[in-house]
């Protein structure tokens, strides 16, 4: 069974990670080298010289071309070989794959699948990350676990109470009913948990300055396979948005994850936290960055362990799903469907 949904956009990096240095990263099992041209355009090429497979990321840039660090094969930004050592004839097959990229919302998105299906308008949005009305902290942690485990983890936030108690978890998170909505056609999953009267976890108490209990809304919007948005609204108990949709008395935090498979058993766990308050307060930025990274690392530690356990078990191991897994089950189904659709021989969307 195919593991990856190849014909989809994935976050490969933050825009800030790419520059005039050659930057390697493996996405969906494919080693890729990234760089920027002299005019600043982002480029992604297969990270293996066609000659003897030497990593181009271990080579050097000359203008907008990469000169292989082993024998000097030289590739342009489209992956075509423009120079081979010691001879004038360039073999027709001397080219490396290039990958379509889109830079949007502070991310570099890459398309690994069939080139003719790479529609830039299909890249899902996380506009807060590049919006001056928000301040964002972000990072990326390597996860030594299959990406499906991170999707499971993020689709059910009741684990916050247990795995992240004292940071973002409070008793009400696990005890509040949820509504799950699944749009079959557009392949979006939305999970709402609206807590009317909840304890304020330190993550929000220290960043917002709210004292006492809060109205806490957690709305998950997952665009499988890669983009996960958590719309978080925090306000003093009883403070609701106005009828016209404006919401000046609440604090809004947009927590964004990009879940990008590295290999079948490892994942790039991109995380970002954007807020619409205390915009210039560096202390709040430092606190949110440190707290969220701590939470992410708690997940990473747990999922790394879980990956080892699952790998040691025979296929078809038994699980038990309960009410909290309603959204996660829908996510698994979409991911399976997307992977099957991208498999060789798949003709139509099931």
């Amino acid at each position: 069974m195919p593991t990856f949904a190849r014909n989809q956009w994935y976050v490969a990096a933050y825009s800030r990670e790419l520059g005039r240095e050659l930057f390697p990263r493996t996405i969906l099992g494919e080693p890729i080298v990234f760089y920027r041209t002299e005019s600043g355009d982002a480029v992604a090429l297969a990270d293996r010289c066609v000659h003897r497979r030497y990593p181009l990321s271990e080579s050097r840039l000359e203008g907008d071309t990469i000169v292989c660090g082993y024998h000097g094969f030289t590739y342009d930004r489209a992956g075509s070989c423009v120079f081979v050592p010691g001879q004038s004839r360039i073999p027709r097959t001397a080219r490396v794959a290039s990958y379509p990229l889109v830079e949007q919302d502070s991310f570099v998105w890459v398309w690994i699948g069939d080139r003719d299906k790479a529609d830039p308008t299909l890249v899902p949005r996380a506009p807060w990350l590049a919006d001056p009305a928000y301040t964002t902290v972000s990072g990326m942690e390597p996860l030594r676990a299959r990406y499906e485990l991170l999707v499971d983890n993020l689709m059910d936030l009741s684990h916050e109470t247990y795995l992240h108690g004292g940071y973002i978890g409070t008793p009400e998170v696990a005890n509040t009913p949820i509504t799950t909505e699944v749009d079959e056609e557009n392949e979006i999953i939305y999970v709402s948990r609206h807590m009317a009267d909840a304890e304020c976890p330190s993550f929000y108490a220290r960043s917002t300055g709210i004292e006492g209990r809060i109205t806490r809304w957690q709305d998950i919007e997952y665009h499988p396979p890669c983009l996960y948005l958590l719309h978080s609204r925090i306000a003093p108990v009883g403070v609701l948005p106005n009828d016209d949709g404006t919401d000046p008395d609440a604090f809004h935090v947009e927590v964004v994850y990009a879940i990008t498979p590295e290999t079948e058993h490892s994942t790039h766990d991109f995380w970002a936290v954007a807020r619409d308050f205390a915009l210039d307060d560096q202390e709040v930025s430092d606190f949110l960055a440190e707290s969220n990274r701590t939470v992410v690392l708690q997940d990473v530690r747990a999922l790394d362990v879980l990956e080892q356990v699952i790998q040691s078990e025979p296929d078809g191991y038994q699980e038990l799903s309960i009410n909290i897994d309603t959204g996660g089950l829908a996510a698994r189904r979409f991911l399976r469907r997307m992977a099957e659709r991208a498999a060789p021989g798949a003709l139509v969307r099931s």
């Binding site: 909505e181 009410n323 309603t326």
Partner: protein, 57 residues
Amino acid sequence: MTAMLRGNTVFRIHWVLNTDRLLGVCHCGAEHESQDPVELWDWLLAHPEGHEEEPAR
């Protein structure tokens, strides 16, 4: 209850407040209750099979 997604083929599952029950609502309007999300998804995804028998309330 909350309705955030507006497409023509949206399934909704509400966790009924203060109970262990899940209420599934198909895009055709049919409803079904269950205490097992796997069973409830099977019912929703079987649409239209079995969805005429339980009129929407």
